[in-house]
């Protein structure tokens, strides 16, 4: 792993939790009573930062309790880091306040944009990969990291189209962003599979080019399928179903190469009962344990 300090450092108002080899899930309020009733699970929870940017009330009460019991990953969805316009300073201030208040184990954002002028589109919108956008996005990451006083993990997007003006591949772009800004990376394996299908490249080639040494978290999720203009599959990053078999296979390959960074199963729509989501995290943990065991045995044989 890299020398970047992804995790929280220093004195804390919360108990220390390790993230080693952990598998977690999105935190959904409809699961709270089931989570409370369960004997303490080994995982961690990820929250969308924006849902906790209100002043007070139940969201903060819930997150405070969860943070006492589990490691928490703070996942920003709408900083618009990939947009051309300056970051929203008010929003950045709210984000920093959450980092300060909850001391999350992981902090992440997306290589995407969601606000243009004053309109918030509530989607992860794409950008061309050029020298100019590289400089701009690196500046934005630097601004976020300076504001919150720590490195973030940047997530690779699901994409559905291309910008002919792009002059570099997504992996080149991400590698250079990480080098310039010092950020870590959140590798969403489902996004790799979705983009590979939609763009017609091999997911394994993408992973071979991806700077795995900078990955501080992995995402898994389910996708749905539509058709493109030519009637061929166009996959949608829908987060509304179990992780696909092909994505599990890619995940196992990634774990074998990248070690076992904390892995999160996202499920944001058509949310199932807690046991179904917990089973997805357990499946991820089983793969992590199996791969790590075989790597250890392999090292023992080689010694």
């Amino acid at each position: 792993m890299s020398d970047v300090a992804f995790g929280h450092r220093g004195s804390s108002r919360f108990p220390a939790h390790s993230l080693d080899r952990l598998a977690g899930t999105s935190l959904k309020h409809e699961h709270l009573s089931a989570i409370r009733d369960e004997a303490r699970c080994q995982g961690f929870f990820e929250v969308h930062a924006e849902n906790y940017m209100g002043s007070g009330g139940p969201p903060h009460a819930v997150l405070t309790q969860i943070r006492q019991d589990y490691p928490v990953s703070l996942h920003g969805v709408c900083m618009s880091i990939g947009g051309p316009q300056p970051l929203d300073k008010t929003h950045l201030g709210r984000f920093k306040a959450l980092v300060d208040r909850y001391e999350p184990a992981l902090v992440s954002e997306h290589l995407a944009w969601s606000t243009h002028a004053t309109t918030y589109f509530n989607d992860l919108l794409p950008l061309p990969y050029t020298d100019a956008t590289l400089a701009r996005v690196a500046d934005h990451i630097d601004e976020v990291q300076t504001a919150i006083g720590r490195a973030i993990l940047l997530e690779n997007p699901s994409t559905y189209l291309v910008f002919p003006e792009s002059t570099m591949s997504e992996t080149q772009f991400i590698r250079e962003l990480a080098r310039r800004s010092g950020c870590g990376l959140l590798l969403d394996v489902n996004n790799v599979f979705v983009s590979a299908t939609n763009q017609g490249f091999a997911a394994l080639d993408y992973l071979a080019d991806f700077p795995l040494d900078r990955v501080g978290e992995i995402h898994l999720a389910g996708h749905s399928a539509q058709a493109d203009d030519e009637g061929e599959p166009l996959l949608i990053d829908s987060h509304d179903r179990p992780v696909a078999d092909a994505v599990w296979e890619l995940f196992e390959i990634v774990i074998g190469r990248a070690g076992a960074p904390p892995t999160l199963v996202e499920w944001d729509s058509d949310i199932p009962p807690w046991p179904r989501l917990a089973a997805e995290a357990a499946a991820a943990r089983a793969i992590i344990d199996r791969v790590c065991r075989s790597l250890t045995e392999g090292a023992a044989h080689a010694a």
Binding site: P84, N122, P128, L234
Partner: protein, 285 residues
Amino acid sequence: MRPEMQPDVRLDMRHEVPPDRSPTAGVAVSYAAHFAGALLDPGLPPPACVGGPRRKGVTNRYNVYRNNVTVSLINALAAVFPATQRITGDDFFRAMARFYLRARPPVSPLLFEYGHAFPAFIEQYEYARPLPWLADVARIERAWLDAYHAPDVEPLDPQALGRIPAEHLADAVLIPHPATQVLRSRFAALSIFSAHKGDNPPPQIDSGESEDTLVTRPNLEVVATRLPPGGATFLARLIAGDPLGAAAAQALAASPSFDLTANIAGLIEAGAFAAISLGEHDDGS
């Protein structure tokens, strides 16, 4: 029940990019403006700055983003206004929400703050005219969510009023709790809202009876209760900063049956206030 005709609520989507003096300003920054231009307007072709891979078509590909934006914002409104949706049915609500988000897309990434203009939009929405009370139900829902996210403040200690000397009571100023809101309706908006909060079939309601609603969050639970006669005027004057005596006089003028003692007790019990101040007398002496 989907509307056949489309009210003219098309938004002018010509956005200005804010001025920017950073070193990369002006360099290849037009992609967001071009890409965003057609997101909320299905009548426009996909922007020229994007394409499909290997010369494939881009229409369905761009429509993924269009669909994500529109559906997710409709879902956001449905999450803010669940009772309104139960009343109208899903198809009606989603069509109405689609018109609204095209006219008034969010200006903040905090979607729990979206839709403050939705009740006024409903009031003007042609197809909602047979439901004249619907906008007031939506106002209660919007206030409910504001209260849900309001700052955590202890409500006023119920004993606090009793500690004020009787001769100073009329001058006392009650500071509202940040979650507190008053909503007045010519209709039975609170009864209709309450009947459609859950999935149970609603009872028969006389929608023509006017109701005033108090929304509070005394601890972590939002409560919507009906205010007695004169209560809305009384609380509105207190929120505006009037001292107790003046607010009571206004309430009595508005409603001769106004019961001061019952109203104060009810409001304090509901957690409507955060503090009490004696104004010029509140000098600690």
